[in-house]
Structure formats: C-alpha cells, structure tokens
Amino acid sequence: MRRPRLNSLSSRLLLSVSVLLLFFFGATIFVLDRAFTEAGEQARQDILDGHIIALLAAAEPDDYGKLVMPERLREPRFQRVDSGLYAELRHFDGPLVWRSRSTLGLDIPEGARPTLGTQAFAREFLADGTPLLTLSLAVDWELEDGDSQPYVFKVAESMDGFNAQIASFRGQLFGWFAGVALTMLLAFSMLLRGLLQPLRQIETEITEIEEGDRVSLSGEFPTELTGVARNLNLLIDSERARSDRYRYTLDNLAHSLKTPLAAMRALLNDRHDDDFDARYNEQIDRMDEIVRYQLRKPAAAAADKLVLVPVSVEKEIGRLVEGMRKVYRDKNPDFDVRIEKGMQFRGDTGDFLELAGNLLDNACKWCEHKVRIVVVPSVSASAVASGMILTVADDGPGIPKDAADALLQRGMRLDESTPGHGIGLAVVKDIARSYGGQLSIHEAADLGGAEITVSIPPVSPGKAG
C-alpha cells in the first residue's frame, strides 16, 4: 500500500511536468518548422526568379521576328535529362515554342497563365506525382520593328529534394527535442527523488518501528518535516506509556488483591475449623481465579503495533527452560527444544513469556518425562514481519477431545488437583487472539501426550496487531 501512495505524489508531479514539456516543446517545434519551411520556399522562389531572368536574357528573336532559345543554356541542369529543373517557352495562346532538354519524356503541365506583364508562382504536379514549384512570366516581347509578341516563360523545379530536406530537418528537430525532454524529465525525477527522500525516510523508519528495529523516528529531517516527526514520536511515546501504565496498573491491582487473599487464607487456617475453612477457601479460590484471569490480560491487547518490539525466542525459551529445570527438578523432564536460529516474536516480552510459560508449565506438570518445544516462523509473501508457530508437546496422558473443547471455550479447570491448568490455557488463548492468532489442542503423534499449538500470523503492512 505504501509504495503507490508515495509514488502517486512523485508520479503526479512527473506527469504534470511531462504534459507541460510536451506542450511547450510541441509549440516550439511547430514554430521552428514553419519558419524553416517558409524560409526554404522563399529561397526556392528566389532561385526560380533568377532562372526566369536568365531565360529572358538568353532569348533572342530570330530573323522572322520569332523568339528562339540558344542551344545551350548557362544552367547545366536544363541540359541534363531528369535533373529536376525544367523550363519552357510558349506563345501566350498556348503553342509550345521551346523546352529545355531536361524535360525529355516529361510533360510539364501547362497550368494557369498569368496576365501579361506579371509573374505567378504555383504548385503543380508531374504526371508521376512529383510536386513542382513553378514560376510563369507572361511578357509582351517587343520586336525591332516596333511590333510585339506575347510569350510565357515558365520554369519548374521538382520539390522532391526540398521535401527531403524538410523531412530531415523535422527528424533532427524531433530527435533533439525528445532528447532534451527526456534529459529534463530524468533530471527532474532525480530532483524529485532528492526532495521526497525525507518522506521516504519517515516511511522507512515507521516500518522499522513497526518491525521493532527502531524505537522512535530519528529526528534528522528538513525543517518542514520536523514537526510531523516530533508529533509522531510523541504519539508513539504516549502509546507506549499508555500500554506500560495499563500493565503496571493491572499488576499492582493483582498484587494488592492477592496478598490480602493470602493473608485471609492464612487466618482461616489458624481457626482449625475444617468445614468453615473449606467453604471459605473455596470462595478465596474463586476470587483468586478471577484476579488471575482478569488481571493477566495480554499487554498488547490495547496496544498498537507501534509499541511492539522483537523478542528473541531462543533467549526467552532458554530462560523458561532453565526455570522449569529448577521448579521440576525432581521430575527432571527431558526438554527437546527446536527453535529456528534468530527466530523473533514481534510483540511484548511479557506476553511471549506468558504464552510459552503457561504451555511449558502445563507440559512439565503432565509429562512422564519428555517435553518438546518447537518454534518456527510463519511467513507470507506480503508480510513485513513473520509470525510464529509455537508447539509444546509432552508424553503425558494428553487431553481428551471433549475436555479440550471445553478448555478452548472458556477457562475451565480440567483437573482440580492441578490448579490453574484451565486458566493458563485461557490466558494463552486470550493472548494468542490479541495477536490475531489461535490456539489448538491435539494429541502428540509420537510422544502420545498433549500437543498444544499457538499460531501467530505474520504481520501484514498497514494492519494493526
């Protein structure tokens, strides 16, 4: 979820800049293209003008008062067949007088005739479709005898070369501008990256806090963001303090309730009145159970994942097993501990000890001799932190199916002679639930006793707890 959110900010900016560049460069290309084309055409027209003047200079009336053109013209292209430069001379009425040699095999279109004494440019086409720029000049040629004859001089030039030139110009124009635009976009996106870097850093650090690798935001942000970072840190701190306070209050409450309960029990026992004792002890037991269960709620229940820290499973299980070895020294259970190297539980240390401690204690209480603890991570592709599957098995009598169901339903005692079995599992169930996990009870296939599994799912990004 987080990547696209950040990207949308930068991609939005990049998109706007791209549109602006496209518009600006498009207009520039259009204007440059027009200017180049027009200048080119003007130059072509000037050249045609020059050719017409040269033709006029070369034309001579013959002895019969008719205009004739010399064998050779100064412009060699008129002589070369298919050179792309053509000329012809007509009587104003239409009949052809002369054609340049270059027109051999071609038919220059007659085109519109300008009025006498004027010249006109036109765009015409050869029969094969070659575009031509033509200039026609209609003159009234005065002869020596004072008579005059109307003639039309016409030069035409193939536009093929010119068009090719324009195309090549356009190609270059587009190429250069595309290059410049790309470079600019690249530079801009790098600039943007630099500018948005602090935001990315905040995001990374929040992820690290969520994953438990970091306690608070570093505070090394540009001035515009220090306020945000500070407030986030305050929020995280107050959330942590709240969670600590919650647990501290519960612990104190439990402590201050249970010592008087213990004293009451001691006082009762001093009375040496068995019936009275039994009845009151029962009430004390009930109160004790209520205190134990209700005040041992998971610490992380009220907490957001920002307060969670990684707990070294190996270390804590190690401490628990050492403790169990002391407490169950007479029984001396054989512990088989299998924990994936570097395995971590993301949550509250107290909660983890509560999960594992209750399961281990039950297993030690019920086992014949063997207790097995297996902890493996549960992973999913999208998770930011892996979950945990904690399985504790023993070779004791096991838990019958209906009793297991009852245990899972509520904190019911399975056996009055081992107090707290039910409460322990009920606490485990509550804690597992507060982490979105669950508790299941099976029969250990190889050991023959109970096998209790707590599965805590992996933490997905952006989802609490």
Binding site: D251, P260, A266, G323, R329, N332
Partner: protein, 228 residues
C-alpha cells in the same frame, strides 16, 4: 533448619512463620527488603522464603545480592504477580522455586522440604542410606523396613544430619538450626538426643549411622544409596 521469611504483609508473615515453626523449623522474620537483605546476608540460613514485591529493596534485588555474595542456600519466592515474566526473572536471578499467592500452607511446606532435601543432594523425598530410610513427606525413619518410633525433635536431628550426609555438623550448628531463637540453648541436650537416636536406630550397635568427631561434631556416616 533455620529459615528466613521476608514478607511485608504482617498477617501473612506471622502466620507463615508460626506454621513453619510448628513444622520444626527455626524461623527468622523480616518485614521489608532492607531488613531481609541484612538477615539473608548475615545470618546462617538454610533456606529463604522471599516475597518479590517488597518495600525498600525488592525481592529480586535481594536474591541477586545473596547470590552475588556466594550464598547457595535455596530460595523460594512468593509472588502475587502471577505473570511468567516475574517468575522467570526471579528464577533467573537465582531463586529455586516459586509459590503464587494466595497459597495453601501445605504447598509452601512441600516446596520448602523439597528444596532442603535437594540442597543436601537428595533427588527424592525418600532418603535411603544402607539399611536406613527417611521419608521426608511422612516424617518417618525406618531401619531394615521397620519403622522406628522417633519424637519430632529426634526426627528433626536425624533429618538434618541425613540430608547433609557425609558432612560434619557441629553441635553449635545443630542447636542453632534446630532451636528457635528464644529457646534455651544447651549443647548437652544435643548429646542426649544423639545418644537416644543411636539407641533407637541401632540397638545392637552394628550399623553405626551417626559418627562422633571429637571437638568437631557429628556426621551421618552411611553411604547414600541414591545419587542425584
């Protein structure tokens, strides 16, 4: 056996101490952590019962200090904070077992006896050495499967010596550990009891369970039949 009870709740502390005294232990009482730490460090103690939630110095700190000073007697913690975090912290600091409040006295008594026996190197609560058997839970001594009728004080001496089988125990230690503070001390009483014990356990003087080391004290001399 001299026990130390550190508990700030007066009713609980006194009741617990009284019952332990009735059970044949000599009991020192401390009402806060500071006093408790003093007793725990300075007095000859066989076992300490320490509440974790104490004023002045926390139970956890007392345990750490006691262990840092090199005392190895067993420590039983009382805790009202039923979280495993607290229990594990206590056990890691050097405690040997825990009892959660509100406890039944029998639970405490059973743990205390088990810890004392273990600290003497016995794995089971039934200690056997040669033809002798001492059952701590039933407080019975038998020789060649015949129960010997002992008074509670005789049993205490026997248990103290047998739990520490092989070690020399001075008369002073015996009076110290077996009498309560205010009891009138007289080392002759110990000699009398030892004499009576020898007669009851070994009328024909063949197995010689208790050895006298002149000027040093007594020693339970039979080989243990079980090793921890």
């Amino acid at each position: 056996m001299r026990l130390l009870v550190i508990e700030d709740d007066a009713t609980l502390r006194e009741s617990l101490s009284r019952k332990l005294t009735e059970g044949g232990f000599a009991v020192e009482q401390a009402a806060d952590g500071k006093e408790g730490l003093y007793f725990a460090s300075e007095y000859p103690i066989d076992l300490a019962i320490i509440d974790l939630g104490l004023p002045e110095v926390s139970g956890l700190d007392i345990i750490k200090q006691v262990r840092a000073d090199g005392h190895s007697y067993p420590i039983l913690i009382l805790t009202a904070r039923d979280r495993w975090e607290d229990k594990v912290d206590g056990l890691s600091a050097g405690a040997d077992d825990y009892v959660v409040k509100p406890f039944h006295f029998e639970e405490v008594s059973a743990r205390v006896n088990a810890l004392l026996r273990r600290s003497g190197g016995w794995a089971s609560s039934v200690l056997t050495a040669g033809p002798m058997t001492l059952d701590m839970s039933r407080q019975e001594v038998s020789v060649n499967d015949t129960t010997v009728d002992l008074t509670s004080f005789e049993y205490k001496i026997m248990e103290y010596l047998m739990v520490r089988a092989g070690k020399v125990i001075s008369k002073a230690e015996l009076t110290d550990r077996l009498y309560d503070q205010d009891f009138e001390r007289d080392s002759n009483v110990i000699e009398v009891f030892i004499g009576r014990l020898r007669k009851k356990l070994d009328p024909d003087n063949t197995i010689k369970p208790i050895e006298t080391l002149r000027g040093r004290g007594y020693r339970f001399a039979l080989e243990r039949n079980q090793v921890d």
